[in-house]
């Protein structure tokens, strides 16, 4: 297995507010990397800068200082259409609130990233059905989001996020709106995707249970990386306990 970094972040800073107004620094010089095929979690309390970080990584927001390199692209130097194309090709997203288009069927939602690339409809159909089979949502394809449960919606969203084989899958509290069974199913799915397709996964969460599915966890506190945990050879339960312990001391 190569140890090539998929994401590398150096000296990342983000300050909100104009220079002559009251400013707020959300990120204060972050440094970390995510290797190819890694499943990394980012944890922290509300307001610690988790979402800000993810927005930088996914180019939805621009950093004040520092560099973000994703799969060889320096994200901070991109503009306009480059940014859009980057999001469409290199990144797969799963959001807490699903972000499915309710005017499209599950199938059309999943096919959207491919349609943007101009993939032929034959290839598209094949890719959609493959990914649907992987996530066992083949029988939901003709339904509209309004007809799906939360767990089903999130699986459709996951399918959309990986159908175009992005370099990295990013999840922003993907289990936040799900019941525990659905949450577990989704996390198992993400693990499967990570293992089978060797796709890097970056999961932002404040939930220790979700985090326990990761191989490595970065804890953010006040805009900086406070500490780091590695799962190593432990089983998930033991890791979960370790996370809880860490959180106990971390938040004090």
């Amino acid at each position: 297995m190569t140890t090539k970094a998929v994401v590398s972040v150096s000296d990342l800073e983000k300050t909100y507010g104009k220079p002559n107004e009251r400013q707020y620094t959300a990120l204060k010089g972050l440094n970390f990397t995510v290797d190819a095929g890694e499943f990394v979690g980012i944890m922290g309390a509300s307001g610690s800068g988790k979402t800000t970080l993810l927005n930088m990584l996914s180019t939805l927001d621009t950093p004040t200082k520092g560099d973000v390199v994703v799969n060889g692209h320096d994200v901070t130097k991109m503009r306009g259409n480059q940014l859009a194309d980057f999001r469409a090709e290199e990144v797969g997203f799963i959001f807490q609130d699903f972000n499915l288009l309710e005017s499209l069927t599950a199938e059309e939602n999943i096919g959207l990233p491919l349609a943007l690339k101009g993939t032929s409809s034959k290839v598209m159909d094949q890719a959609i059905h493959e990914v649907a089979a992987t996530l066992s949502i083949s029988d939901l394809l003709t339904k509209y989001p309004a007809e799906l449960s939360g767990g089903q919606k999130q699986r459709v969203a996951a399918a959309r996020a990986i159908v175009h084989h992005p370099a990295i899958l990013m999840g922003d509290e993907p289990t936040g709106a799900l019941d525990s069974t659905s949450a577990r199913e989704l996390l198992d799915l993400m693990t499967t995707i990570n293992e089978q397709q060797k796709m890097s996964v970056l999961l932002v969460t404040h939930d220790p249970f979700s985090a326990s599915f990761c191989q490595r966890i970065l804890f953010i506190k006040d805009g900086q990386i406070g500490s780091e945990l590695r799962r190593g050879e432990q089983d998930r339960r033991a890791f979960y306990q370790q996370i809880l312990n860490e959180l106990g001391t971390f938040n004090e």
Binding site: L60, L83, A84, E89, N99, E108, G111, L116, M124
Partner: protein, 603 residues
């Protein structure tokens, strides 16, 4: 407390409320202006000489009431879409349904009453200035036109407040009957209609049959008289709706299965259309009707405007005849766009007027061709002197050059040059003028005509030249011409605000959807193009339908615009101007939508 909260909600959406209020105010103002014209008996009896004109005025009134009704319904649904989330939250927090109902009722009613009151005020001001301005522009004069007319004020107030009471009741029922969840998530609800081919074909056929009946009714206005209008109105509205409903869904569904739908944002576009297909069907029906009525009214108005001079011109070979041109008159003549001019010397003695043969040979008297003339174009011819001696001499146009008294003329005689110079009698010259377009030269002609009348007053009941016919016809048909323009502008204004409401009520949901697309990595350009297509469809379909409606609907005006006039004459340029205006609307709407809906770029 709840009332205070509700008020705070309104404050937060000040701009949307302002648009809503402005739209409703405009609608009430336009209605007042029309009611002022339509209910003013003195005005109608003074201006509507043609029997059908009364029907047209009645038609206009009914139409405007119906349009106002639909318009208020539209505005109301916009109001509801703005408010139901707030009220849903209040209910979720435990507010009593009855209390919410009261608030909604009051809110709608107060808004409506304010709009009506301001609208009537605006209507009064507009009647005074705008109507005057428009009349001046068209060079018309309408007798007994006054800005303040109490019955019209009452009619407007009663109609509008009545409609708003209905709207309030509707809102009350809607909010108190819907579940809290439905109110909170109204934006996410999709139309997911089932496609049933048999039913679909049935609807389409029924729609076409209804449209055919409507078009026939318009053409058969002579037979059906007043009944033609309600029949056409109901059948065309229902027909258009059914046709749209049947075909749109099928077309969208069919397109969704093609590979075209899988390219870029096409699938999203189709999804959007399908998602709101019923909403859009209603929208398209209303816009196509408003489009048709605005275009139809303006076409008729400009038809009269353009054709009245032509029609008047078909009565006489010359526009005006001036005797013994003074320097002041010559100055006026120089300002005219003359297409033909001739001057003859007259010698009047006893009951005879003598002309010089040499002059007539050099400048043969132009006569109007009365047989085999082509539509919309007056043709003139000259004869050899000997032929003129036999026939043309007795023509009204020539006789009119020398009037002796009411309905009596000097008898014209043509003498050889030598004889003419020896002939005794009162010598004077007469200059005949024909201008290219009386409308264009109206002001100068009026002035010139007045100076001529001051010097040589005509006996009552006599006219000389087509300018006299033109002024008479302006008095006859001017009311209709004005109505055409006025209603056209009114409908155009309503069309604009209907589209505005569509934008505002659809935008919040779309904002969210485009934000999602942005996150997923859709280029700005693609989103822009997608929006342009979606709004474009909303403009294009009713535009086409509206033009078809107008092409058939103009039949209705055939009895009012008899040969040589025709409602179809020269519609090309009117259509082009109107389509140009409509295109400008499209661009403005699109720019607004882009601004509201597109997510800001990160950089």
């Amino acid at each position: 407390m709840l009332a205070k909260l509700a008020l705070a909600g309104i404050k937060n959406r000040r701009r949307d409320y302002l648009v809503l209020l402005a739209g409703l105010t405009m609608s009430a103002a336009i209605f007042y202006m029309f009611a002022n014209l339509a209910t003013n008996k003195a005005f109608i009896s003074a201006n509507a000489v043609v029997s059908q004109a009364v029907i047209i005025f009645g038609f206009g009134a009914v139409l405007l009431i119906l349009i106002s009704l639909v318009y208020i319904m539209y505005a109301n649904s916009f109001l509801l879409s703005m408010r139901q989330h707030d009220y849903g939250v209040f209910m979720m927090l435990g507010a009593k349904r009855r209390r919410i109902g009261q608030l909604v009722f009051l809110e709608t009613l107060i808004l409506g009453t304010i709009a009506t009151a301001i609208g009537i005020g605006l209507g009064l001001a507009m009647s005074k200035f705008l109507v005057g301005f428009l009349l001046n522009l068209l060079g018309l004069h309408l007798a007994h036109l006054q800005a303040v007319y109490v019955p019209a004020i009452i009619a407007t107030a009663v109609l509008y407040v009545g409609l708003f009471v209905l709207a309030s009741l509707f809102n009350l029922l809607h909010l108190t009957r819907s579940t809290v969840l439905k109110l909170l998530h109204s934006d996410d609800q999709a139309d997911q209609p089932k496609v049933n081919p048999g039913k679909q074909i049935g609807q389409a056929l029924l729609g076409i049959v209804l449209l055919a009946i409507g078009y026939w009714a318009l053409a058969a206005i002579k037979l059906l008289q007043v009944m033609a209008i309600p029949i056409a109105l109901v059948t065309i509205t229902c027909g258009t709706y059914l046709l749209f409903r049947a075909t749109l869904l099928v077309v969208i569904r069919a397109l969704r299965h093609t590979s075209w739908a899988k390219k870029h944002l096409n699938g999203f576009l189709l999804g959007q259309l399908n998602f709101r297909v019923y909403n859009y069907t209603r929208m398209l029906t209303i816009v196509s009707l408003l489009f048709a009525m605005a275009l139809g009214a303006i076409t008729v108005g400009s038809g009269y405007h353009r054709q009245l001079p032509q029609m008047a011109g078909s009565f006489d070979a010359y526009t005006l005849a001036v005797h013994n041109v003074t320097p002041k008159q010559q100055k006026l003549i120089n300002q005219l766009h003359v297409s033909h001019q001739a001057t003859y010397t007259q010698k009047r003695q006893g009951k005879v007027v003598y002309y010089n043969a040499t002059e007539l040979r050099q400048q043969p008297f132009e006569q109007l061709r009365t047989t085999g003339k082509s539509l919309g174009k007056n043709q003139y011819y000259t004869e050899s002197l000997s032929a003129f001696q036999k026939k043309g001499l007795a023509g009204m146009d020539f006789q009119n050059l020398a009037i002796r008294g009411a309905y009596t003329f000097y008898t014209p005689k043509i003498l050889k040059a030598q004889q003419f110079s020896r002939q005794a009698g009162k010598t004077m010259t007469v200059t005949t003028l024909r201008v290219k377009n009386m409308q264009q030269d109206q002001r100068v002609l009026k002035h010139l005509n007045q100076t001529e009348l001051d010097r040589y007053p005509l006996p009552t009941g006599m006219t000389v030249g087509s300018y006299q016919s033109f002024t008479m016809m302006n008095a006859f048909f001017g009311g209709l011409e004005f109505m055409g323009y006025f209603l056209g502008i009114a409908f155009l204004a309503m069309l604009a605000s209907c589209l505005m409401f569509k934008i505002l009520s659809g935008a919040p949901g779309d904002q969210r959807r485009y934000r999602m697309l942005y996150k997923v990595g859709v280029r700005q350009g693609l989103m822009r193009a997608g929006i342009a297509k979606e709004i474009g469809i909303l403009f294009l379909i009713p535009g086409i339908m509206g033009i078809v409606d107008v092409l058939f609907g103009l039949q209705m005006f055939k009895p009012l615009m008899q040969a040589p006039m025709s409602p179809y004459l020269g519609i090309g340029s009117t259509f082009l101007i109107f389509i140009g205006l409509y295109a400008i609307y499209y661009v403005i709407t699109l720019a607004l939508y882009w601004r509201i809906v597109l997510p800001k770029q990160a950089d």
